[in-house]
Symmetry: C2
Subunit: 330 residues, 2 copies
C-alpha cells in the first residue's frame, strides 16, 4: 500500500515529515492544511509536494475531504487535543507536535480515544533522534556512569519574532510545557529513571512583547531512585549568538559524568578510570522513517505512545506546579 | 596596634587567613586550635606560624587562655554557632566558615549576639573574591545584560575521602547548605536581586560510604522581579577529572547572557549587539586583607554581616524545603 500523509498545521516541526517523504517509496503527501495562505504558498515549493497534493485552510475540512493514513499534527498547542481526537476517531496514525494536549483532562480524553483506536501515535520529540542524546542514552543505560545521582539540562533560545499563537496561553502551553518537554523526556529516556515529583517556576520578566510567553522557566524533579534533576529554560539567547539554541544535557552517576558541549552537538565522558574523552557519535536517525516503519511493524517506534502520554503529563503538572506554587506528585 | 589572630578549627578555608597573615604587617598568628594533633602538627610548618604561636586541642580553652582580636572560625558546621557566640561575647572580630549556623534558631541567637557586640563579622564566601565572579557582578550591575530573567549555577566536586564530620548531619549542615551557599550568594550578589521563595531536593543515592552527606542537591529560587534561579550540586565529579571542582555560573538577561566556562575560571559575554567575547579578568582579591581593612575602617567589608545572615537563612530554608517537601518563603 501507499501511505497518504496529511500535514495538519505548518506551525511546528512538520519539516521532519516533509523532508523525509521524498526518501520513502510508499509514502505520498496527500494534503496540507494551515490557516495561513502565506505558509501554504511557501510549502508549495517543497520537494514532497506533488501535483496531486491538496491544500486546505482548515484542518477539519481536510479531514472531511481527504482519506489520509498518517497525520502530522503540527498546528498550535491549543487546537492539538481536538485535532488528535479527530484523527483517532478516523483511525489515522498520528505523529504529533508536543505537548500532546494543553490540559490533563484533554490528555485523558486523547488517551481513551487512542486506546480504542488501534492507531500508532508518536510525538515529534526530535531530540531523541539526535546523535548526542542517543549516545548519552547508550552510555548511561550500559551502566558506565553507574547509578544516576543527578541530571541537569538547559534549553536557551533566541526569542526572535514569535508567532501570535505563542503569545497567548489560550493557544500556547507555556515554556515549561512547550520546550521543557524535551529535557524532561531526554533525562527520563537517557537514564531509564522515572520521575516521582516536580516543582517549577516560570514567568516573563524581560520581554513584554512576548505577552504570555515565559522568558524563563525552571523545574526540579525527584527521581524514583532518590536522585534529582533540574531543568532551566529561557528565551534570552542574544541575537548575536552563534546558534539559535544553546542546549545542554548532563548526567552524573556514581561512576562517571556524561555531558554535551557546544550547544548539545558534542558529548564528553569522564569516569573514575578514564580522563575526559569526547565520544564519537553515530549518524542522526530519521524520525518519520522510524514512524512509518513502526506502522508497518518493521521497527519499534522510538517514541512510543506511552512515553508521549507520560511526558505530556509531567510537563502539564510542572506547569500546574508553577501556577499553584506547590510540588506535584507524578 | 597589632591584631592577634586565632584560628579556631583546621577543617575549612583557614588557608585564606594563614596565607594572608605573612603579607600583613600588623597581624600576627597568636593561636591555633583543632581537636586533631595531626592537623596541628601539619600547620606548624606554615609561614604564618611564629615561635610565639600557641597550639590548643580545644577551642574554648584557647579562648579562655588567649587574648585574640580576630577569630577565623573554621571547624565543623555543628560547633559553629557555639563558637561564634563565644567570640561575639568576647568582642572578637570573626571571619567564619559557612553556613553561619546549622538551624534558624541558632541563627537568631548569633544575630542577636552580633547586634550587641560591635564586632566585624564576615564569612569565607571565597568565591566573591575570584576574578570571574567579580567580573560577572560588574557587568550585570552595570546593566549590560539588561533585566535579569534567569540565573543558574553548578557546583560539582570530587567526593574523595570525606572527613568524618561531613558524614553526619549532627556535624554537617547538608550539601544544600554547605556548598549551596556559594551559588546562592553569587547569584544574589552578582544580580543584586533578592530571592522570595525556595524549593529544594537533596539525597545520597550512590555513595553509601559518605553516609548522611548528600551526593546530589537541586534548588529553584524565585527572584523579587519574578525571574528564577536554579542551582545543582553534586559530589559525583570523577576522580580522573582535571580539576577538583566543576563550577558554573550563568546569568541571562533580556539584553545578554554572561557565563563562566572552564570550571568557572573564564567568563564569556554575549549581547544582542555583540558576538560571544571572553572578558579580561582582574587579579583576585585577598579576602583576609579586606576583612582586616574593614576592621580598621579603611575598606568596606566585601562580605558584610547582613549578607552572611541572609544567605545562611536562605540555604537553611532550602534544606528545610528538602525535608518538608514544601516551598519556603524567603
Amino acid at each position: 500500500m501507499v501511505y497518504r500523509v496529511g500535514i495538519l498545521g505548518l506551525k511546528g516541526h512538520q519539516g521532519v515529515v516533509l523532508n523525509s517523504i521524498p526518501k520513502i517509496d510508499d509514502v505520498v503527501l496527500s494534503a496540507v492544511a494551515d490557516d495561513s495562505e502565506e505558509a501554504l504558498m511557501r510549502i508549495k515549493k517543497h520537494p514532497a509536494v506533488t501535483s496531486d497534493t491538496k491544500f486546505y485552510r482548515n484542518i477539519s475540512e481536510l479531514l472531511e475531504e481527504e482519506k489520509i493514513d498518517i497525520a502530522c499534527v503540527s498546528g498550535t498547542d491549543g487546537e492539538r487535543a481536538h485535532v488528535l481526537l479527530e484523527c483517532m476517531n478516523r483511525g489515522i496514525h498520528v505523529l504529533s507536535e508536543k505537548p500532546l494536549t494543553m490540559t490533563l483532562d484533554e490528555l485523558s480524553m486523547v488517551k481513551e480515544a487512542y486506546n480504542s483506536s488501534g492507531v500508532v501515535l508518536s510525538m515529534l520529540l526530535t531530540m531523541r533522534f539526535s546523535p548526542s542524546y542517543r549516545k548519552i542514552r547508550e552510555v548511561v543505560t550500559s551502566g558506565i556512569i553507574g547509578e544516576v545521582c543527578l541530571a541537569n539540562a538547559q534549553k536557551s533560545y533566541k526569542l526572535g519574532d514569535r508567532p501570535e499563537w505563542q503569545k497567548s496561553h489560550k493557544t500556547f502551553s507555556s515554556t515549561l510545557a512547550f520546550i521543557g518537554i524535551h529535557p524532561v523526556d531526554l533525562i527520563r529516556w537517557c537514564t531509564g529513571r522515572e520521575f516521582t515529583e516536580v516543582m517549577a517556576y516560570q514567568s516573563n520578566v524581560g520581554h513584554p512583547e512576548a505577552h504570555d510567553m515565559e522568558d524563563n522557566a525552571v523545574m526540579i524533579l525527584k527521581m524514583d531512585n532518590g536522585g534529582s534533576a533540574c531543568v532551566h529554560l529561557d528565551y534570552c539567547r542574544p541575537m548575536k549568538a552563534a546558534t539559535h539554541g544553546d542546549d545542554l544535557l548532563r548526567i552524573a552517576g556514581n561512576q562517571g559524568v556524561i555531558e554535551t558541549f557546544e550547544q548539545g552537538s558534542r558529548v564528553r565522558l569522564i569516569t573514575h578510570e578514564r580522563k575526559a574523552e569526547e565520544l564519537t557519535l553515530d549518524e542522526p536517525m530519521d524520525e518519520f522513517l522510524n514512524f512509518v516503519n513502526a506502522i508497518k511493524g518493521l521497527e519499534k517506534c522510538e517514541v512510543p505512545a506511552e512515553d508521549c502520554f507520560r511526558v505530556t503529563e509531567i510537563v502539564l503538572k510542572a506547569r500546574e506546579s508553577s501556577e499553584t506554587g506547590q510540588p506535584i506528585k507524578l
